[in-house]
């Protein structure tokens, strides 16, 4: 056992194994998220959804993956080839490395760092580059329009996400994700900070470019937005990135507001189920909301999207931040910082 903790080679092997242990489940989850999305949307629209490949269409994601891999990668003649191919890799890479700090159970994170929440925020704010670079490098009007929309949207909603995170951090007194979950042992933050929970979820929709905020790819106006020119695996990487980001956003929601791996109320029958199962269960519930919203709401108009971000969410989260800080001071609930 000491081989894995003392020997540099052992440490390397251990780190790679840890990374695989989180990436592989995330990718499988992502594959079945596409399947679940098609099934749920089908149910909403009174259709059957994928039901041909395998029992209940369960092999559909793999059929799609193989189809993607067999297709030809078309690189447009006028594009900037280097950046054109860099963009999807960047998108997918960023979506995956964020998982390094997500705690699946008490202390079960690849990197249990002190500034975990800032790391997540930094990585998610980098996500916009994959989209801008894709839009610019494609040398296409539609792609560029999509990239512009996406950048403005992501930068706007990051502001309110930041304030929501600060609200949570005030109640926790630490930037460590493990501490954030442990601070919710008495009550999950979705109850005392309910408005912030809602703001975070909606901003999460905007941050991941999901309906009703999927203007960057608005297929009825700008074809497919920033990835018009992409085909085959390059397209698949964008697709993977988007869905991995959805799962990540759900994981963040459950860590910040739904008590991560903690069982509800921390009482007997619930605590028999191990933490990771709770964590995955909460992610799945949030993901269901993501899909439900997509099946229910029409796309926002662009100016309304901006209005919601800057004129509603920003003042609301700012106000709630002041209220939270005030309440914590008034009742002496401030957590003792180390």
């Amino acid at each position: 056992m000491s081989f894995f903790f003392d020997n540099p080679l052992g440490i390397t092997i251990l780190t790679v194994a840890e990374a695989l242990a989180i990436i592989v489940p995330v990718l499988i989850m992502m594959a079945y998220l596409t399947y679940a999305e098609r099934k749920v949307l089908a149910a909403i629209q009174l259709r059957k959804g994928p039901n041909v490949v395998g029992p209940f269409g369960l092999w559909q994601p793999f059929a799609d993956a193989i189809k993607m891999m067999m297709k030809e990668t078309v690189v447009p003649a006028g594009s900037n080839k280097m950046l054109f191919l860099l963009a999807p890799m960047l998108t997918f890479g960023l979506a995956v490395i964020a998982w390094a700090v997500i705690p699946v159970n008490d202390g079960w994170a690849i990197a249990n760092i002190n500034v975990g929440i800032l790391y997540l925020f930094a990585i998610s704010s980098l996500g916009v580059y994959g989209i801008i670079i894709a839009g610019w490098a494609s040398n296409s009007k539609y792609a560029f329009l999509g990239a512009m929309r996406s950048a403005a949207q992501m930068v706007s909603y990051e502001v309110s996400i930041g304030f929501v995170m600060v609200c949570v951090l005030l109640c926790v007194g630490s930037l460590n994700l493990n501490d954030i979950v442990l601070a919710q042992q008495r009550v999950w933050f979705c109850l005392p900070l309910f408005p912030m929970f809602v703001v975070f979820f909606i901003s999460g929709l905007a941050e991941t470019n999901r309906a009703p905020f999927d203007l960057p790819e608005g297929e009825s106006e700008i074809v497919a937005g920033f990835f018009v020119e992409y085909s085959s695996m390059a397209f698949a990487l964008f697709f993977l990135g988007e869905y991995t980001n959805m799962i990540l956003m759900s994981a963040m929601t459950s860590i910040l507001f739904l008590g991560g791996w903690l069982a509800p109320f921390g009482v007997e029958p619930f605590t028999w189920i191990p933490g990771p199962i709770w964590f995955i269960g909460k992610i799945v519930v949030v993901l269901f909301f993501f899909i439900w919203v997509r099946g229910t709401f029409p796309r926002y108009r662009y100016d309304q999207l901006m209005r919601l971000g800057w004129k509603v969410f920003l003042p609301l989260s700012l106000l709630w931040l002041v209220l939270t800080a005030g309440a914590l001071m008034l009742f002496g609930w401030l957590p003792n910082a180390a």
Binding site: V115, A122, W136, A151, V155, Q304
Partner: protein, 230 residues
Amino acid sequence: MIAAVAFYVFALILLASAVMVVSARNPVHSVLFLILAFFNAAALFLLAGAEFLAMILVIVYVGAVAVLFLFVVMMLDVNFAELRSGFQRYTPIGLAIGFVLAAELFIVFGGWKIAPDEMSLRFAPTAANVNNTAQLGKLIYTDYIFLFQTAGLVLLVAMIGAIVLTLRDRQTSRHQNIARQIARIPADTLEMVSVRSGAGMTEIGIRRPKVEAAVPEVEHATTDHDHGAH
């Protein structure tokens, strides 16, 4: 050992991308190299144990400032060839600035080398159980509170300045008043009219838009611009 290797890798990429920022022909490439440089600088901060600064560097500079910068470069048709035309003329000034910076760095690190004890007193090491986020907060909000607030005030002034310079209502756009749209109910806009049998649309219409009473329009004179509520 690994930290040393990582330091040299990040420092090398940082320097190389910094050189590429000024030498790349395409301005968009320049900005992307600048972003790479920021990123590697953040990695160097991490190696120095300043994890909070590293994350803030990425969030503020890479995640927000550089995005806008990239946009300006992509959208505006800046003639960079012309900007670069004075390269040879300005080379001596650039070299002079570089020399001054290098000399200052030399003096700073020289002092470190000559009198290590004295310098170590100035750089009070943080206690092992206090992370540098908390340490930074304790300093900023106590000893340096006025400087911190002044910095915030400078930013506020800059923000107000930007808004004052750009916000002007040209009176050409018709704004949407969402509160009014939501507050509208069918009774406000539609009226039931009992129609004599056979008269139908020819006389007054069965359901027609109510003739708008003289509601004082707050935003604009036009009355029919908010049918989007339906």
